[in-house]
């Protein structure tokens, strides 16, 4: 069964995603920050990681780089609500909706998705990344 690790600091988003993907038939584990995610990856390398981009401590781009270097086979979907919060950690002067997603792509994300999205969209994104 495809194992998905969800990382988002917002419990509402995390829980909703976990529910939707569990119901779609995936093995889902959700954590609230990057450090927990690294630990979870050590315990059991996920097939797919779904991560928010703006998080305290370890942000999305750093997390993606770390996972990609430690677990090259893990596929990553980056999700972001856009806006310009914390944008300086990526590109000093950019004020772009998808600056985060651009940063995610640069860090090695396989797919990016703008929040909010329909349950069908996220499920389709996950299915597209399942190997084979």
């Amino acid at each position: 069964m495809t194992y998905i690790l969800i990382i988002d600091d917002e419990a509402d988003v995390r829980d909703a995603l976990e529910l939707v993907l569990t119901r779609a038939g995936f093995d889902v584990h959700a954590v609230g920050n990057g450090n927990e995610a690294i630990e979870a990856c050590h315990d059991r390398p996920p097939d797919i990681v779904i991560t928010d981009m703006i998080m305290p401590k370890l942000d999305g781009a750093q997390l993606i780089r770390k996972i990609k270097s430690e677990h090259p086979s893990t596929r990553v979907i980056a999700i972001s609500g856009g806006g310009n919060f914390g944008v300086s950690s990526y590109e000093p002067n950019a004020i772009k909706t998808d600056a985060f997603l651009a940063a995610a792509r640069a860090a090695g994300a396989d797919k990016v998705l703008t929040k909010p999205f329909e349950s069908e969209e996220i499920v389709a994104a996950v299915q597209a990344l399942i190997p084979g």
Binding site: E10, D12, V13, D15, A16, L17, L19, V20, R23, I54, G81, G82, G83, N84, F85, E91, A94, I95, K96, T97, D98, A102, R105, A106, T114, K115, P116, F117, E118, S119
Partner: protein
């Protein structure tokens, strides 16, 4: 009082008074003394000649003549002009005029100087030879008439000097007035200028060269003052406009930053709403009436998603990632065509777009959006049947910034896009806020109030400028200026123009 004394008129009059007060008495005294001396000499010469004449008559007469004849000659002297006394002193006898006043002999003094002794009589002794005998002719003449003549001459002199003094005083006053009158006229005009009536010309009717020059210099000064004032006022006005626009831009930027932050939070909130609603709908039987309510929630969440998308479109200031050389003429033509196919029949859309290329550095999709937003804004302003929207594009050369030290500013080429409508227009207060996000004059639900702020953001993101000119009840013109590309190759970009965004290309 001090002021009056210090005035030019008073100074000149005072000077004339003092100068004449010193000079005139000296002049009068010396002239009057001269008149007295001259008059005296004339009198003495005259009486000497007269006495000589009588003495000659006495000497030349027949020796046989009696004393009666000699007395008659003495009488002739006394009766002649000014004569008062005549005696002939012979060694043997004394002959006197018979017409002498009784006291004449007593009065006789040895007085041979004119005007002395206050007796008004001048005495003269002249030796005469009669036969073998030598005697003395002693005569006296009245000085009165000569003294009167001298007195009259002195009076005339005094009168002449008085007339001269008054004339000099009058001339001085006239001269001082001729100088001071135009000067005080100038002074009053200067005061009016100082009070702010700067259009008052400073000129003089005076013919005095110095006053004319003073007036000319003052007028020059006033003229330069007026010019400096005008320049200053223009600069202040220009600065105010620039400041207002800067404040406006800053406000929009601040609101944009805030809106961007809020949008991000909203997107996060919308995730559980969207997902849980869907899950709930899946779990409920199709027949449940809760399906309708959940459907409503889902629909509302989607509308919220669209709104947030628009807010983000504004807040990101559209730092175009896909900027490249864009033919604005073509983009505008295409956008207007698309808009024309969607707009109602009661509105005529007129275009004035040049055939030639109009290259700018930007994102054609966003510029397309600008034209669409402006046109749809124009369409919403139109009421009634004869609506008209004019979209025009041309190239303009404008100075970039202000020139310094008289050097002309560098000219920069701009593409000027104007969208004009004959709609309801708006007042100044509305024009002022028209680019603010969420500012709308439409009814709630008719518009988001983001269209024009998106336009503003795109134009700013392209290094351009946007202006609005509106007449309430007559229509509105939006004017957009975008820097022209110097050539087809973006590498030709002049310094100062927006460079290509490297960050955008790594995506």
């Amino acid at each position: 009082m001090a002021r009056t004394l210090n005035s030019l008129l008073a100074r000149i009059v005072l000077f004339v008074l003092v100068a004449h007060g010193i000079l005139l008495p000296i002049l009068y005294l010396s002239l009057s003394r001269g008149a007295r001396t001259g008059g005296g000499e004339m009198f003495v010469n005259h009486v000497r000649e007269h006495t000589r004449f009588i003495a000659d008559l006495i000497e030349n007469q027949d020796p046989a003549m009696g004393d009666e004849d000699l007395v008659a000659l003495l009488d002739a002297i006394v009766l002649g002009p000014n004569g008062v006394f005549a005696e002939l002193h012979m060694p043997d006898r004394l002959l006197s005029s018979t017409v002498l006043p009784a006291e004449a002999g007593r009065l006789f003094k040895e007085d041979f100087a004119f005007g002395d002794n206050d007796d008004e009589t001048y005495y003269l002794t002249m030796p005469v030879n009669i036969g073998e005998q030598t005697g003395n002719l002693v005569v006296g003449y009245s000085e009165q008439s000569a003294l009167e003549d001298i007195g009259r001459a002195q009076d005339e002199l005094l009168l002449a000097l008085t007339v001269y003094f008054l004339a000099a005083l009058g001339l001085a006053v006239a001269m001082a007035t001729a100088i001071t009158r135009p000067m005080s006229a100038l002074q009053q005009a200067s005061r009016r200028v100082a009070r702010g009536e700067v259009t008052t010309r400073l000129s003089t009717s005076s013919t005095i060269e110095e006053v004319i020059e003073l007036a000319r210099d003052l007028e020059l000064m006033r003229d330069q003052l007026v010019q400096a004032n005008t320049r200053l006022a223009d600069e202040i006005a220009e600065r105010r406009v620039l400041e207002a626009r800067l404040r406006h831009s800053q406000r929009i930027e601040t609101i944009g930053t805030m809106a961007g932050g809020i949008a991000h939070e909203f997107n996060n909130i919308l995730v559980p709403i969207t997902l849980y609603t869907k899950v709930a709908m899946e779990d409920l039987p199709q027949s449940s009436e809760l399906q309708v309510y959940l459907g409503r929630i889902h629909g509302a969440a989607q509308r919220a998603r669209k709104l947030v998308h628009k807010i983000l479109a504004f807040s990101r200031q559209l730092e175009a990632e896909e900027k490249q050389s864009v033919d604005l003429a073509r983009t505008v033509r295409e956008a207007v065509e698309l808009f024309g196919s969607l707009s109602p029949a009661n509105v005529v859309i007129e275009t004035r777009i040049p055939e030639e290329e109009c290259l700018v550095f930007g994102d054609s999709t966003m510029l397309h959006q600008v034209v669409l937003n402006l046109c749809s804004n124009a369409l919403r302003a139109i009421r009634g049947s004869d609506g008209r929207i004019v979209v025009s594009l041309d190239k303009q050369w404008r100075p970039s910034g202000t020139g310094h030290d008289g050097h002309p500013a560098i000219e920069v080429g701009y593409a000027r896009l104007c969208v004009e409508d004959n709609g309801i227009g708006m007042d100044a207060a509305t024009s002022e806020r028209i680019f603010e996000p969420f500012f709308t004059t439409r009814e709630v639900g008719e518009g988001t109030g983001l269209g024009l702020s998106v336009v503003h953001g795109i134009v700013m993101g392209h290094g351009g400028d946007i202006m609005v000119n509106s007449d309430k009840g007559r229509g509105t013109v939006f004017t957009i200026l975008l820097p022209l590309l110097p050539g087809r190759d973006p590498r030709d970009l002049q310094p100062g123009m927006a460079p290509p965004d490297d960050a955008g290309h790594q995506a």
